[in-house]
C-alpha cells in the first residue's frame, strides 16, 4: 500500500492528540448540558468558560468577546448578516471565501462592492479608501487567503473602515493558529475562526465580537452564548478547540520556521527540474501554503495523478467536458490562463517531513516533465 502524504492542511488538519484527550471526558462521563443548574453540569460549564478564556488569551481578546459557532462558515455568515440592514453597503474583496461572498449576496437589500486585488493577491489600502463611504456599514476582508495564502494589511484596512464609521470583519480561518493574531493590534471588530484548521475538531469555531459591537443573534432559541447563538453547546469540541489552539500557538514560531524551510526545498527542487511554474501569492503568506501554477498543465489532472501516488493536494481549477473553471481567486489575481489552468495548492503542516516534500517534488517532475521539456 502506498504511503499517504497529506499536503492539504489548508483544507483540514489532523486532530491534536492533546485536544482529543481533552474532549473524551465530555463525550463519555461528563456529558451534562452546560445550561442546567445541577451539580453534574458544573464541570461542563467550567470547561466552557476555561476554553473561552484560553481562546481569548490566544488572540488577545476578552473571554466575553468569544462566541462559539459551528465553524468558519457560520462565523462569516453571522458577521455579515448580523451587522447589516436593508439600505446598507458592504465593502469586501474579490478573493474572499464563498462563505463571505455568498453571505453578502444573500443579505437582503444590501449593496456589496467587491474590490480588486493586486497580482500578488493583496488588497491595497488605497483601493479601500477609494471605495468606502459614509454609507458603508461593514468592511470584510480576510486575514489570509485560503487558495494562495496571501496575508492582508488588516490593521491599515480596519483603520480606514473605522475612519468612515464602518465595522471591520476579518475571516481569519486560515490564519488563527498559524500566524500571530492580536485583535487589539489588528483593530478588528469581528473575527472568524475554525478549529479544524489548527488541529482542532471539525464542526466548531468561534466569532470574536469586540465588546460594544452591535450584532443581532445568529440563532434564536435558548440563552446560550449571551443570547446571541442559541443551541446546546458542544462542550467536547469546544474543549478540544481550546487545547488545539493553545498548542498551535505554543509551537507557532518553530512550525513556521520549519515550514519555510520545506517551502524552499520544494521550490528549489521544482526549479532544478526546470519546470515552468509560478508561485502565487504575496511575500507575506501563511507558512506552508504554496500555490503553484504550471504552464500548459491541467490542475485537476495533476490532483488526481498525485492522488494515485498517495499524495493529497488541492487544485484551483476544475474541468468539465467543455471548459476549465478557474477559481475566482486565480481570476482576481489575473493569472494568465495558460498557468491558471495548471494550478495546485500544496499546504504543508507541522507533521510533513523533508522526505515527503522531496517525494512531492519528484512526483510533480515525473508528471510534468513531458510538458515542460
Amino acid at each position: 500500500m502506498k504511503k499517504l502524504i497529506y499536503a492539504d492542511h489548508a483544507a483540514t488538519t489532523r486532530l491534536d492528540a492533546d485536544a482529543f484527550e481533552a474532549m473524551k471526558p465530555f463525550l463519555l462521563e461528563e456529558y451534562a448540558n452546560a445550561s442546567q443548574p445541577y451539580a453534574f453540569s458544573r464541570r461542563a460549564k467550567d470547561a466552557l468558560e476555561e476554553a473561552r478564556a484560553a481562546i481569548a488569551g490566544c488572540i488577545h481578546a476578552q473571554p466575553e468577546e468569544i462566541h462559539f459557532t459551528s465553524g468558519g462558515t457560520e462565523s462569516d455568515n453571522w458577521a455579515v448578516k448580523g451587522t447589516v440592514s436593508p439600505g446598507d453597503e458592504i465593502v469586501t474583496s474579490q478573493i474572499e471565501h464563498h462563505a463571505v461572498l455568498r453571505a453578502c449576496a444573500a443579505a437582503q437589500g444590501v449593496r456589496t462592492a467587491c474590490l480588486p486585488v493586486t497580482e500578488q493577491g493583496e488588497l491595497r489600502p488605497a483601493t479601500l479608501t477609494g471605495a468606502v463611504s459614509e454609507r458603508t456599514k461593514l468592511v470584510s476582508v480576510m486575514l489570509a487567503n485560503n487558495e494562495i495564502g496571501a496575508i492582508q494589511p488588516i490593521r491599515a484596512l480596519a483603520g480606514i473602515a473605522h475612519a468612515h464609521g464602518a465595522l471591520f470583519h476579518t475571516d481569519a480561518v486560515q490564519a488563527v493558529g498559524h500566524v500571530p493574531v492580536d485583535v487589539e493590534e489588528l483593530g478588528v471588530d469581528l473575527l472568524s475562526a475554525s478549529a479544524h484548521k489548527f488541529n482542532g475538531p471539525k464542526g466548531i469555531g468561534f466569532l470574536y465580537v469586540r465588546r460594544g459591537t452591535p450584532i443581532r443573534p445568529c440563532l434564536d432559541g435558548g440563552a446560550q452564548e449571551s443570547g446571541l447563538r442559541a443551541g446546546t453547546e458542544n462542550v467536547a469540541a469546544i474543549a478540544g478547540m481550546a487545547v488545539a489552539l493553545r498548542n498551535s500557538c505554543d509551537r507557532m514560531a518553530e512550525t513556521a520556521a520549519r515550514l519555510q524551510q520545506l517551502e524552499q526545498t520544494l521550490l528549489a527542487q521544482l526549479t532544478a527540474a526546470r519546470l515552468d511554474y509560478r508561485r502565487n501569492g504575496a511575500a507575506q503568506h501563511i507558512p506552508g501554503n504554496i500555490s503553484l501554477s504550471f504552464r500548459d498543465a491541467d490542475g485537476e489532472a495533476l490532483l488526481h495523478r498525485l492522488d494515485l501516488m498517495g499524495i493529497c493536494v488541492s487544485t484551483g481549477s476544475a474541468c468539465d467536458s467543455v471548459q476549465t473553471q478557474i477559481s475566482h481567486v486565480l481570476q482576481a489575481i489575473r493569472l494568465p490562463e495558460a498557468y491558471a489552468r495548471g494550478t495546485i495548492r500544496i499546504s504543508l503542516g507541522y507533521e510533513n517531513t523533508r522526505d515527503e516534500v522531496l517525494t512531492i517534488a519528484g512526483a510533480l517532475e515525473k508528471i510534468l516533465r513531458p510538458f515542460h521539456r
Binding site: R305, D307, L308, M309, C319, D320, S321
Partner: protein, 66 residues
C-alpha cells in the same frame, strides 16, 4: 461515429469510461487516450485504483462520464 483507440496497445473501441478517465488524468485537451490496462501501467497503479476513481467521478456527476 468516431472510434477511439488506445494510444499504447491500439485496442478499440475505448469505452466512454476509458475516454473520460484519460481526459480526467491527462487533461481535457489530451490527444492521447488509453485503455484501463495501459493507463494503469502508465500511472503505476492498479486497474482497481482506476475503477474506483471512475466510480467517484460518476458519483460527482462529472460530465466526462455522462
Amino acid at each position: 461515429m468516431d472510434i477511439k483507440q488506445c494510444a499504447s496497445c491500439r485496442v478499440q473501441p475505448l469505452t466512454k469510461d476509458e475516454i473520460g478517465l484519460s481526459r480526467k488524468l491527462l487533461g481535457v485537451q489530451t490527444p492521447e487516450l488509453f485503455c484501463l490496462d495501459c493507463m494503469a501501467e502508465r500511472m503505476e497503479c492498479s486497474v482497481l485504483d482506476l475503477v474506483i476513481k471512475i466510480e467517484e467521478f460518476k458519483r460527482q456527476s462529472c460530465a466526462l462520464f455522462k
